[in-house]
Structure formats: C-alpha cells, structure tokens
C-alpha cells in the first residue's frame, strides 16, 4: 500500500491523473451498456446477455447510415431508433412467449441472440476493424504537463450522465415509468391494475437497446478504438460487472459500477505491479466479489426490505 501511495505522489503524478481520466472515459461507456442491462433487470430480473451485441449492431447501423451520407448525430439518433425497434421485435418474438418467472430458458435465449447477432454482424461487415465517425470534437479540452483531458472524455462522461437523468425522469415522472416500475415490482397486481405487461416490457427493451446503441457508438467513437463485430465482448463483461457492482436494479449504481470498473482497469492494474495488464478483467471481477461480499445487493441496489 505504501508502495502504491509512494508511486502516485512521486514524480508520476501526471501518469496517475491521466489514468484517472482514462478510468472516467472507459467507465462512462461501460456504464451506458450497464444502464441498458439494469433497465431490463429492473423490469424482469433477467440479465440480457445479448445487450452488448444489440448495441454493437446498433453502432454498425449508425456507421452504415453515416456512410450513406447522413449527418453524424442524425445517424446516431436513427440508429438508436432502429435498435429500439429491433429490440421490440426480439422481445415480441422470442421473449414474451415464455413465462417471465422462469429464467433459465430466457437466459439461454439471450445467449442465443448474442451468438446470432454477432454472426450476422460478422457476415455483413466482416471482422476487419473500421473507423467510426468522430461524435465529439477532437483534441484536448485541457492540458497540464503530460495530463490530457480530451473532449472525448468530457463528452462521453456527460452523455452518460445525461442519459441517466433522462431515464430517471422517464421512470419517476411519467405514466409509462410508473407502469414499468409497477411491473417490475409485482407482475400479478400490475395485471390486475389494468397494465398491459407485454407492451410495457417491450418498451423497456426498446429503451434499453437505444441506450446501449448510444453507449456502443460512443465506445466506438473513442479515437483509439475502431468498430468491429467483437468489440463489445470485453465491454460486455466489464458492463455486467459494473451493473452487478452498482446494484443490478439501480440506474445510478450502473454509473458508479462503470466508473469503479474503469478505475480498477486502468489505475489499479497500473500501480499494483503483480497484476499484469492481461489480468485487468479478472481484477475487475475480484473487486466485484469483494463488494458483493460486503454489500450483497451492490452499492446502490435495493435491499429487499419487506415486512412479513
């Protein structure tokens, strides 16, 4: 530990700050995918393993639209709508038939969707990495010695916060949000209150996919990354970990989880010498394990408080 602190406050302060900024940047994109998973988990207590791939497909749609000459942000918005509609169709076709209380078939379906979507993207766009349009101004907003805070980092983080605020408002201030939370709380009583369960969950899936597509687009727009069909594999694991860490049913928990995972990935691995870079994924999972041991429902997750 002394070693750790000593190295930070030594001459490598710049490096440390840079690593924190990297953590913020990566963490924000993980958080956006994690938020999508949290939305679905909130409604159905189901982890949608296809979330990352749906997001990747959405990002490819964005790229395609952009290649066809659409202005960049229009491409993103239409891409989000496209993936929302696709998710609604997937929900209607594959998910709704099954008993929402029986998770195993549903988990297997989401895993199947994961593979199918990945294959479709690979067939359509090949595995060659392609460069993605720059969504945000390039260059640095702020430079100090060797520390660079890029516009990309600032915008990635703010987009994430913005999405959370929009979703939070939607869930707490609108009639749809009330229905959505009712369905996630008590399926039978929702039905008995006249809520149409199917369409409510379907809209939840669409919303999640749209948020995921924005996340994947921002992820792919990172100047150091390119878009390719397997780009979300790593991000998916980080995002699931982030979602679980923050509390699977908490939107803001997804941000905290995302940032924590980003931090572990870039800072801890940098400074704890016996963790090689290849182990950054495992380090993230170890942190998850520690957090869940101390707080079984995650940092901000709802602990089941129920009087009997």
């Amino acid at each position: 530990m002394m070693l750790f602190v000593g190295r930070i406050w030594g001459p490598d302060m710049d490096l440390f700050l840079q690593r924190v900024i990297d953590a913020l940047t990566n963490g924000s994109t993980y958080a956006l995918i994690a938020v999508a998973m949290v939305l679905i988990f909130k409604a159905t207590t189901l982890i949608n393993f296809a979330q990352g791939e749906q997001a990747m497909l959405g990002a490819f749609a964005v790229l395609q639209l952009w290649n066809w000459g659409l202005p960049m942000w229009w491409a993103v918005i239409i891409g989000m709508i496209f993936s929302g509609i696709l998710a609604a169709v997937l929900e209607r076709t594959f998910i709704r038939k099954f008993d929402p209380a029986d998770h195993l078939p549903l988990v297997i379906i989401t895993l199947g969707l994961f593979l199918v979507i990945n294959a479709i993207a690979a067939i359509t766009w090949r595995f060659d990495p392609q460069s993605f349009p720059q969504l945000f101004p390039s260059g640095n907003a702020f430079t100090y010695n060797n520390v660079r805070l890029s516009w990309y980092s600032i915008f990635a983080f703010s987009s994430c916060v913005l999405v959370l605020i929009v979703l939070q408002t939607l869930l707490t201030k609108t009639k749809f949000g009330l229905a959505f939370r009712a369905v996630s709380s008590n399926l039978e009583s929702s039905r008995l209150s006249g809520i149409n369960i199917g369409p409510t969950l379907q809209f939840g899936w669409a919303l999640a996919a749209a948020a995921g597509t924005l996340g994947a687009s921002i992820y792919a727009a990172n100047p150091v990354l390119q878009i390719e069909p397997s780009m979300m594999l790593r991000a998916l694991i980080f995002s699931v970990t982030a979602a679980a860490l923050g509390g699977l049913d908490s939107l803001w928990g997804a941000l905290i989880g995302g940032l924590t995972i980003g931090f572990v990935q870039s800072v801890v691995v940098q400074y704890i010498p016996f963790i090689p870079n290849e182990m950054s994924l495992s380090a993230a999972v170890v942190v998850l394990l520690i957090v869940l041991t101390l707080r079984p429902s995650g940092v901000l997750g709802t602990r089941a408080v129920e009087r009997v």
């Binding site: 939370r181 929702s190 008995l192 209150s193 408080v305």
Partner: protein
C-alpha cells in the same frame, strides 16, 4: 328483478390435469356484499382468478350481461372489476402514493387526486406513510393499501381474496367495518372469499359455500349464520 352485475354459470376451471371448479353457478347484484366461504383448496381463489381473467376457464361469466370470455385481465379491469389478490396485493418497491396511482392506471380523468385523498380519509395511517415504500408497511397496512389500490380504479365490482389472512383479529374487524362503509358510501359491490365465516357473514348480504369445487349451500347471510351445517363446519360451534 334487476340484472345482476355478475353472473357465473357452469364455471369450470382446471390446473393441468386437476379440475378445481366443477361447474359452479352464482350471481352478484349491484351494491351487494356477497361472500364465498370454503376451506383451503375448495376453489375460492380460482373462482376469483377466473372472474378477473387470470386463468382459462369454460362456462359463462357475464358482467352486466356481457360475456368476458374473450377479454384479457387488463380489459376486464377496464370493465369495472378490481381484484385484491391473496396475501399482498401491493407493489413493495413503490411508495404508498405511487401504489395508489398505479391503481388509477386505467383512468384518464382529473379526479385521481381527489380519490387518493378519499383513500387517505378511509385509512389515515396510509396518509402518514404516503412516502414510505409499501414493503415497509405492516401486514394490516398493506391490506388497507391493497384494497385502496383496487378502489382507485373506481370499480363497480371489487373482488377480495381472503382479506383477513394472516392479520390480527382486531385489525380484521377494523378492515371489515371499513368494507361496510365503503360499500355504503361509494356503492361498491363486493365479492369476498373468506375462511373467516363469522366476520364475513356479519357484513355480507348473501353467501355461498364452496366445497371441493362445487357450491354446496347458498342463502342470505343471516340464514347461513344460523345454519347448523355451516356452524359446525366453519364457525366452530
């Protein structure tokens, strides 16, 4: 003779290979409190779930003379039927006030706020706890909330599945006397299934006894309360 609000004829229901209801008939008239008595497994819950469209059945169920056979449960709510399911009919993660708003989900009128206030007048304890989550309420308070939630849809017919279950006798008495007041003041017709025969017959106009999926006895509540067979079977006398 006025048209019954609910008419059930030859209702049959099965869970997998097990037939639970073997063709039962009963009616409920407007403004009545009707109670269905029966032991565990007699088919009481199944009867209510059939009416609110939660399970598939055969036979006739008519609301105000119209068959509900092809309606989904959310359409049946829109026909004016509210159902308080057995145990906790609340949304544990939502606040008391949000629970009531969910109850009014099918409504688009401007009086929702007024009706929430009426619920709070009926059960002042809910007002004190309006920002608490439903899951943190006691069993009795949850039952009050579940009933209020159901009333928020402004039902013509309120179905209640063993509202006394698991509650202390004093609380049950309060709850039931509230039912009488709601029935009198708001004109809500009630169909209550119960094991607590004494209390239920005290507030009911008429009653049916359900035994192994068949109606064995029916009559006015004050006749049933003095019926020897019922006294032996359900009133412990």
């Amino acid at each position: 003779m006025t048209l019954p609000i609910l008419r059930v004829e030859n209702l049959k229901a099965t869970y997998g290979p097990v037939q639970v209801l073997h063709g039962i008939d009963f009616i409920v008239f407007s403004k009545e409190i009707v109670v269905v008595l029966g032991a565990n497994g007699a088919g009481k819950t199944t009867t209510l779930r059939s009416i609110s469209g939660m399970i598939e059945t055969s036979g006739t169920i008519e609301l105000n003379g119209e068959s509900t056979q092809n309606l989904t449960s959310s359409e049946i709510v829109r026909c004016g039927v509210a159902h308080v399911p057995q145990g906790r009919g609340t949304f544990p993660e939502l606040t008391v006030e949000e629970n009531l708003k969910v109850g009014a989900f099918i409504r688009t009128d401007k009086d929702i706020k007024t009706d929430i206030d009426i619920c709070f007048e009926n059960y002042p304890v809910l007002y004190e706890r309006k920002t608490q989550t439903a899951g943190s309420l006691s069993g009795g308070e949850q039952q009050m909330l579940a009933v209020s939630r159901a009333l928020m849809s402004r039902p013509q017919l309120l179905l209640m599945d063993e509202p006394s279950l698991g509650l202390a006798p004093q609380i049950v008495e309060d709850l039931f006397s509230r039912f009488v007041a709601i029935n009198r003041d708001q004109g809500t017709t009630m169909l209550i299934v119960e094991q607590n025969a004494q209390l239920a017959l005290d507030i009911a106009n008429r009653g049916y006894v359900l035994e192994s999926g068949e109606i064995s006895v029916e009559g006015k509540a004050d006749e049933l309360i003095n019926d020897d067979a019922i006294r032996r079977a359900y009133l412990g006398a």
